[in-house]
């Protein structure tokens, strides 16, 4: 039953509080494109993506018009390319990146994710070649995202891969130094990666997923903050309730748009990812929600507790609103993509250590953090290892997306523009972790893995 209050509330959320659908992402399996001839495989990849996702952007635009809600991104995730690269050991995996870029251009999507490898227990055929090709692949393409899973609760942490990824992140930054080091902004190192994540840069289409499906990622930090503003004196459990109700409404949008997209494209509906994904736009910040709860600035004492409550309330509200919830689902805390986080980092209130603590209670990890260009690869690896350990022990996804700002040091700023925003170079510890990283091997799976 329609009522005037509800109608005006919906319109206000969209118009004034930045409510939008952050992404509709089509997951496409490329397992049937495997070929020992890399040229043939690339042709198959291009043809399959274009045949499945050719009308994705137009369909997204149609839904935007129909419901009057913006759908910011239309994206594609594919089977980890390392699995295709495994069949052609003599081929250069960058050819796959170029084929994906060509498909992205034809389909008009803004990102294709899945230039990925899953090496949490060890490297199989194709994995090493793909990982080594990541710097070049991200240099010669614009819209391809890459991710590598280096650990899981079930298998422990592959420290050889951790060491390698420190080098790869640094090399990717060096290769794209002339473009504000944009390369590593499209590269995520995961522990416990999820197979149905619609959000970039970490999206890939897992092998357990169907041939083709549609995922939706919702957003709406601005709406949550606006709802809290109305109750300045509410207790914390009342605030949790308000967040739940708001998350419910936001997620209903995702469910509606996903179901409609699935119907129009004739593709099964995968999941709704209930995430609060910030943008650098005014009024679209997760940090500002935490500040609305009563912190003078995000990053000060109490931030972890506020974030834990927010993350939990978002899930509780959202899970009732959708028939299938999945992906990362929680609150994102990317530094450069969130106006409040940027301010807090510039002011020196938000530190790398606080961010690490926050990742133990939110849905992802150390995200879009700019570090000095002179950082040693082993230090990047050590940061990855710390973050992966949090994910492994807490049975949750954690990720690292660090951007070494080549030629810049603490106090400088790196500007990406657009949704990626800008970030101040954050200080890191100067003592070396090289000996630990160079040991190699594997951190054994924790007791939590023995659940059977």
């Amino acid at each position: 039953m329609l009522n005037v209050y509800n109608i005006l509330e919906t319109i206000r959320m969209i118009q004034d509080e930045c409510l939008d659908i952050r992404t509709i992402t089509m997951g496409i399996s490329l397992l049937d494109c495997i070929d020992t001839d890399i040229e043939k495989a690339c042709d198959k990849v291009y043809n399959k993506i274009v045949s499945k996702a050719g009308s994705l952007v137009a369909t997204g635009q149609q839904i935007e018009t129909e419901y009057g809600i913006p759908i910011v991104n239309k994206r594609i995730s594919v089977t980890p390319i390392a699995m295709l690269a495994a069949a052609c050991p003599d081929g250069d995996p960058v050819k796959f990146a170029r084929a994906l870029q060509k498909a992205a251009d034809t389909c008009g999507v803004n990102f294709i994710g899945g230039y990925s490898a899953l090496v949490h227990k060890g490297f199989s055929a194709g994995d090493m070649a793909l990982i080594r090709s990541i710097p070049e692949a991200l240099d010669v393409t614009q819209n391809i995202c890459s991710s590598v899973n280096i650990g899981s609760t079930k298998s422990g942490i592959n420290m050889d891969a951790v060491k390698l990824m420190g080098e790869i992140v640094k090399e990717t930054a060096v290769r794209t130094a002339d473009r504000d080091c944009i390369g590593p902004a499209k590269l995520v190192v995961f522990c416990n990666a999820v197979e149905d994540n619609p959000f970039m840069a970490g999206a890939f289409h897992g092998v357990g997923e169907p041939d083709c499906e549609i995922h939706v990622g919702v957003s709406g930090p601005g709406v949550v903050r606006a709802a809290l503003t109305k109750y300045p004196d509410a207790s914390i459990n009342e605030i949790a309730d308000i967040i739940k109700k708001t998350a419910f409404k936001i997620t209903r949008m995702g469910q509606l748009v996903g179901a409609r997209a699935s119907e129009l494209l004739g593709v099964p509906f995968g999941i709704v990812d209930l995430s609060l994904a910030p943008t650098p736009a005014v009024g679209d910040s997760v940090a500002h929600i935490l500040e609305e709860m009563g912190l003078e600035m995000c990053g000060t004492h109490g931030t972890t507790a506020c974030l834990a409550m927010l993350n939990d309330a978002v899930k509780k509200g959202g899970v009732m609103a959708s028939s299938t919830v999945g992906g990362l689902s929680g609150a994102f805390i990317p530094v450069s993509e969130d106006a409040g986080m940027i301010d807090a980092a510039v002011a020196g209130v938000l530190s790398l250590e606080k961010l690490e603590a926050m990742t133990a209670v939110c849905s992802v990890g150390l995200d879009m953090i700019v570090v000095p260009g002179e950082i040693a690869p082993e230090t990047i690896s050590a940061i990855i290892a710390d973050e992966a350990a949090i994910g492994m022990v807490n049975s949750k996804t954690t990720a690292v997306r660090l951007i070494p700002a080549i030629g810049k040091k603490e106090g400088d700023t790196l500007e990406f523009g657009g949704l990626l925003g800008s970030g101040p170079v954050m200080p890191i510890r100067e003592k070396s972790s090289a000996k630990f990283i160079n040991r190699g091997g594997r951190i054994p799976a924790p007791m939590q893995s023995l659940k059977n």
Partner: protein, 89 residues
């Protein structure tokens, strides 16, 4: 199939006439109208039937948005499902 047209802004002569004129042009039947004028702010919500629409729904949306720009009003035309689904399970 029904849609909701909302018009918010400064009151001027002929808003209802112009909005319903566009509806008629597209063979869209107006089912219900609620409107209020608080001081000089005008707020109208119109429930319309779009099942026999002539032409594309997106054209109707564009025409309404253009009318809004012309009159300095905020006009939204949205499928009713968005309101139904957002506020109920």
């Amino acid at each position: 199939m029904r849609a909701v047209v909302t018009v918010i802004g400064k009151d001027t002569v002929g808003i209802l006439h112009k909005v319903s004129g566009i509806c008629a042009e597209y063979n869209v039947n107006v089912i219900e109208v609620t409107q209020s004028v608080l001081q000089d702010m005008f707020a109208m919500i119109m429930l319309v039937d779009i099942s026999a629409i002539k032409g594309d729904f997106s054209e109707l949306v564009d025409r309404m948005t253009a009318l809004g720009t012309e009159l300095g009003l905020s006009i939204h035309t949205m499928h009713e499902d968005i309101f139904n689904s957002m506020h109920s399970v």
